[in-house]
Every structure is written in structure tokens, then in C-alpha cells.
Assembly symmetry: C2
Homo-oligomer: 172 residues x 2
């Protein structure tokens, strides 16, 4: 018997398992580091719910154009940044530059090129927000030079991307 072809159902399961592996690994890294957590792209709220359950008591700031999440997964108002990422990300930098322990970027839409372009723009703000050695989990490839790519802790390569912000005190 030949190995059956992967279906969109198989693919969806692998994508969510990869996301969970990345978030679980990032949560362990983040437990021992102070600072807020930020999620760009609330979506249906699944990954927000995962982060708050893995990192209880931590402030998780959520950025999105609008709230379309399950009613159980809506962040408290004072941690919700509504509007275009290109406006809210620089506003967050003004308040939290160099303080953030973990960022989850989940900004992909149906349009691959636009998603990657948006993520590339946001990466500069994410770099400013993260503290040295802070973690970035992203659904888009990470090309910004301030980030050192990390191997995935599990799941399927190319579904999510993991990186650590380089220390500002060390060159290159």
C-alpha cells in the first residue's frame, strides 16, 4: 500500500500542531523572562487562548483590525489595540520598546504576497518592541536581520517560523 496523499484536513492538523509546538516552546522560554506578550492577529482567538493558558497572569496585548474571536477569547479592553497594524504597532513601540518578552505574529490572509509584505513591514516594529533574546513566532517567513532563526521544536517546517531577537549589545 502506498502512503496516502495528504489532504487539506491532514494539512490543517499539521499546521495547528506546528503552531502549538512553537507556542508551547515559546511559553517555556518566556516563563523565565519578564515583560508583556503581544499577539498581532487575534483571528478566532485560539492561539490567544493557548498563550493565556500556558502563561497565566501575564499581560497579553492583542492587535487586530477588529474583534472576530469566540466570545470566550476576547482580551480585556486595556490590552486590545484595534486598528491597522501599521498604526498600532508604532504606537506600541512608543510605550513598550525593548520590553516585550514574546511576540506572536499571525498576520497571514488569503493573499500570500500581501501577507509577507505586511509581515516584513511589521518585523522592524517587532524588533524594536522585543527585549534582547525575546522570541518571535510568526506565520510568515522572518527575514529581518535583527532576528536569528531557530529550528522548529516540532511540527512541519515552513508552516510557522521561530526566531530570537539578537542582543543589541553584540554586533551582527
Amino acid at each position: 500500500m502506498s502512503f496516502p496523499a495528504a489532504s487539506r484536513l491532514d494539512s490543517a492538523i499539521r499546521r495547528l500542531e506546528t503552531l502549538r509546538s512553537c507556542l508551547d516552546w515559546a511559553a517555556i522560554e518566556t516563563e523565565r523572562r519578564s515583560g508583556p506578550i503581544m499577539e498581532f492577529g487575534l483571528g478566532n482567538g485560539r492561539s490567544y487562548d493557548h498563550l493565556r493558558k500556558r502563561l497565566p497572569g501575564r499581560d497579553i496585548h492583542v492587535f487586530d483590525r477588529r474583534v472576530a474571536a469566540h466570545p470566550d477569547c476576547i482580551p480585556p479592553k486595556h490590552l486590545l489595540w484595534l486598528g491597522d497594524f501599521r498604526t498600532t504597532a508604532p504606537a506600541a513601540v512608543e510605550r513598550y520598546a525593548g520590553q516585550v518578552a514574546l511576540i506572536h505574529g499571525d498576520v497571514g490572509s488569503g493573499d500570500d504576497a500581501a501577507s509577507q509584505a505586511l509581515s516584513n513591514e511589521l518585523a522592524a516594529f517587532w524588533s524594536e518592541l522585543l527585549k534582547d533574546e525575546g522570541i518571535l513566532v510568526s506565520d510568515q517567513p522572518i527575514g529581518h536581520p535583527d532576528f536569528a532563526l531557530l529550528p522548529l521544536p516540532g511540527g512541519e517546517a515552513g508552516r510557522y517560523y521561530l526566531a530570537r531577537r539578537r542582543s543589541r549589545s553584540q554586533p551582527g
Copy 2:
């Protein structure tokens, strides 16, 4: 360390894994049985794609109010039954009564009570459509007396339901 609380991400993964277990088991059962396959509720097309990859060459009739699936997962026109299930299901009975090998009912919406009521109504048509010993996979509990419930082949109980249509020649 205590076991971490399940998140909506964990729950989504378990639901899809349970669905896949049921469809994989049903596909093996259906391989050795002739007759068309029917799916009520195309949704994004993931389970349709899974069924056509596990049962290549078989006719898979798809019922839904409208097509909102990924462009890769749209059934051929002659196997697509568009409209209200309460109209298309009886029309399918007129043509395929007692011939169908496998039905996947995925009719749940956000409203649990309405989903269960719809599934209960459709179960009478599914019973008429299925051949003796035909398989029903459903996202709603199956209470119709023509069906014998089966244990899940994997995944989490209560997320999907599996049953075999009783033989018409045997009483109760």
C-alpha cells in the same frame, strides 16, 4: 507540574484528529462496498478533500446551501446539490434510496440546538439513502433507531459520532 489546561487550540486539534480518525476508518469500510458517498455540509472542503483522496474514483455527492470551499475543493457540478438540506435530501432519496455506501453529515452551525434538530430531521433521509450496513459519520449525536452506534476508532468521544445503518432484513 500540573497538566496544563486545554486551550481552544488544543480542542481544535483534537476535533480535527477525531474527524480524521472517523473518516479514515469509514473509508476503509467503504472501499469494499460499492455505491456513492454523500457529504452534507461542504464547509471549507477539508473533509471532502480527505474523502476523495482516501477513496479515489468514487462519486462523492456534496450537499450545501452554497459553495464556500477552497477553490481546490469544489466538487464537479453534476455531484453538487445546492440548496436547503430539507429540499435536497428528499430529492436525493428519490434517486439513490438504499444505494449509498457512506454519508458524512457535517451540518453543525454556531447554534447547538438548531444543529441537533436539523441532524435529527436529516437522519430519516440518511437512513433511506444508505444501503444495509452503510456508514454514517456525523458531527451531531445520532439518535435515529435505524442506526447502531459504533465506538470511535480514535480521537475524542463526543466530538464526532459513528454509526452503521441496520440491515433492513433484520428486525430491530
